[in-house]
């Protein structure tokens, strides 16, 4: 039997949406290939939560648990999964395509020597291996890539639906970590609190994103106010991050974060390729821009040709 593994990301006691939706990406392929899908989770205090973690509809759950794994750094997750994979040799190991998933996938690939393909949109079986599709160059080109029968993939967020919690009984396997505490050469020393406020763009359902069209740093307050009214996270184009209007943790795009919220409102963002690639999977895209030829309008669902300095105050007032 073939084995497909999903490495799940835990935030607090929850498996992130980006991780659980990976089950959807493998569903058809697993049926077709008669493969068993397992969710692999690495962390501390997993035993107590095993029953709920198993309820995502996967036939198999592998938990690697230890107090030493408390901060769940990618360093340890990658190492543990690679170690187990070297013994059990699953055909596919997939992670969500975000900073966490990329780091984990890179480590597994490096340690198992199985090649890595990032940011895939679809997976199918072909010629003793897999064919994956991925967008490159800001979504202008769809690449088809063949990858060998033992591969590591990161899967683009928001492409697949999270399967409904099925009535499948999942087999839970509990494992001890292979890594000794003394082998862990990296630890979180401390966290310096930030002065930025508001929710993170990584998992927000609504994002209000701002660009150069706001003209100056002081006007960013309009974006912040609109975001607050909508309960949204504040996003930013690379241009205003480079101009030091806002911290890079807000940056949307290939060089920042790849996001796929329910609603993305682009204010004064013209839409550079690398920005579009980072947000084009959003469900509804609204673009507000003075230039009717701005590339952002090519992918938007709703457009307003106008000045953000007039439209944003009106939106804030209306909401």
């Amino acid at each position: 039997m073939k084995h497909f593994w999903i490495v799940g990301q835990l935030v607090g006691s929850q498996v992130t949406k980006a991780s659980s939706e990976l089950l959807g990406s493998l569903h058809e392929l697993a049926v077709d290939q008669l493969a068993e899908v397992a969710v692999v989770l690495v962390g501390s205090d997993l035993r107590m939560r095993a029953p709920t973690l198993g309820r995502m509809g996967q036939p198999m759950t592998i938990l690697i648990e230890s107090e030493n794994l408390k901060n769940r750094d990618t360093e340890i997750v990658g190492r543990e999964v690679a170690d187990l994979a070297a013994k059990r040799k699953p055909e596919l190991i997939i992670t969500p395509h975000n900073q966490w998933g990329l780091e984990v996938a890179a480590k597994i690939s490096a340690r198992t020597r199985n090649p890595l393909v990032t940011d895939v949109q679809s997976i199918s079986a072909k010629d003793d291996g897999f064919v994956v599709e991925k967008y490159v160059f800001g979504g202008q080109i769809l690449s088809k890539v063949w990858t060998p029968s033992s591969s590591v993939l990161t899967v683009h967020p928001g492409v697949f639906d999270t399967p409904r919690s099925a009535d499948i009984t999942t087999t839970v396997e509990m494992l001890e970590p292979a890594t000794m505490a003394s082998e862990i050469k990296k630890a979180l020393d401390h966290i310096e609190p930030s002065d930025e406020d508001g929710p993170s763009i990584a998992d927000s359902k609504i994002i209000v994103s701002c660009g150069r069209g706001l003209q100056k740093k002081e006007n960013l307050v309009l974006g912040k106010q609109l975001a607050r009214k909508l309960g949204a996270a504040l996003g930013a184009s690379r241009a205003i991050v480079d101009a030091e209007w806002i911290h890079s943790s807000h940056q949307v795009g290939l060089t920042g974060k790849v996001v796929s919220p329910r609603l993305y409102i682009a204010c004064g963002i013209s839409g550079a390729d690398q920005h579009l690639a980072g947000m084009r999977q959003s469900d509804i895209i609204v673009a507000i821009n003075r230039d009717p030829d701005a590339p952002i309008f090519k992918i938007a669902d709703f457009g307003v040709v106008g000045d953000c300095m007039e439209i944003l105050p009106a939106l804030i007032e209306y909401l």
Binding site: L102, G139, I141, P148, K186, I191, L254, Y318
Partner: protein, 258 residues
């Protein structure tokens, strides 16, 4: 302190038209003006600041003869040594093979305390090569650093996160990738440029490194340009208030916002 810096030659980001491919379906890299990946200069700057001894810093790169120009830029900034892995057999290496090759070149070159890389390259934006090199060498890595401080046998590395700034403590040797917030790279001086021309660049081939590359690697099958058909609905009105009203109503009709 001995530091290795990874340097990548990229198509000049200022002059790089997107989506140009050669007959093999690969990026037609040769036809573009070349530049040093911008963040790699920040990596050089950090290495020079941490080490203080230029001879202890080595720039590593992989690619054809033309990559020497890029390595000379690093030497002109003050870095003492340069290593180029140059072998036509390695052309078209995927991420994993590139990481294995660079890690092998570093092992061959000698001991080191830290490997510094740019957090991302402008032509392939994933930024995970540093993590792969680290895991191949079985040493820790911290990606996206804004500050690096070395104390004894440890490095304290600051990385911005959702909650603030995470400060990681890692044992040396380690791999660190840096963002542009870490420093301002120095400009090469005229003296530096002259000196750079006199430093010999060490060259390795695949055979020199006893490379054990995977038998099978990902292969590009085809490229299809994506037609972006616009489905946009433009919201118009006499006043900003009217537009705001219509826009929110339209969004609500889609089932978003309650």
């Amino acid at each position: 302190m001995k530091i290795n810096v990874c340097i990548k030659q990229v198509p000049d980001p200022e002059k790089f038209p997107v989506g140009q491919f050669n007959a093999a379906g690969r990026l037609a890299r040769d036809s573009f003006p070349k530049a040093t990946n911008p963040l790699d200069k920040n990596a050089c700057e950090l290495a020079l600041n941490l080490s203080n001894v230029p001879e202890d810093v080595t720039a590593f790169s992989m690619g054809p003869e033309s990559v020497k120009e890029t390595l000379r830029e690093a030497l002109a900034m003050g870095i003492g040594n340069a290593v180029l892995v140059n072998d036509p057999e390695l052309e078209g290496s995927d991420l994993l093979s590139t990481a294995i090759t660079l890690a092998s070149a570093m092992k061959k070159h000698g001991e080191f305390d830290m490997i510094v890389c740019g957090a991302k390259s402008t032509d392939a934006e994933m930024g995970i090569l540093p993590a792969m090199i680290a895991d191949i060498l079985n040493i820790p890595s911290v990606l996206g650093a804004e500050k690096v401080r070395v104390e004894g046998n440890n490095a304290y590395v600051s990385v911005p996160s959702e909650n603030g700034t995470n400060v990681w403590k890692v044992n040396l040797p380690c791999v660190v990738s840096v963002t542009k917030n870490i420093n301002t790279p120095r400009l090469p001086s005229l003296r530096g440029m002259n000196k750079a021309m006199k430093i010999p660049i060490t060259e390795y081939t695949a055979d020199d490194l006893d490379l054990e590359l995977p038998d099978s690697k990902p292969k590009l099958l085809e490229h299809t340009p994506v037609s972006t058909q616009s489905q946009i609905e433009f919201i118009k009105g006499e006043s900003a208030d009217e537009i705001a009203n219509k826009l929110i109503t339209a969004i609500k009709m889609k089932g978003v916002l309650s």
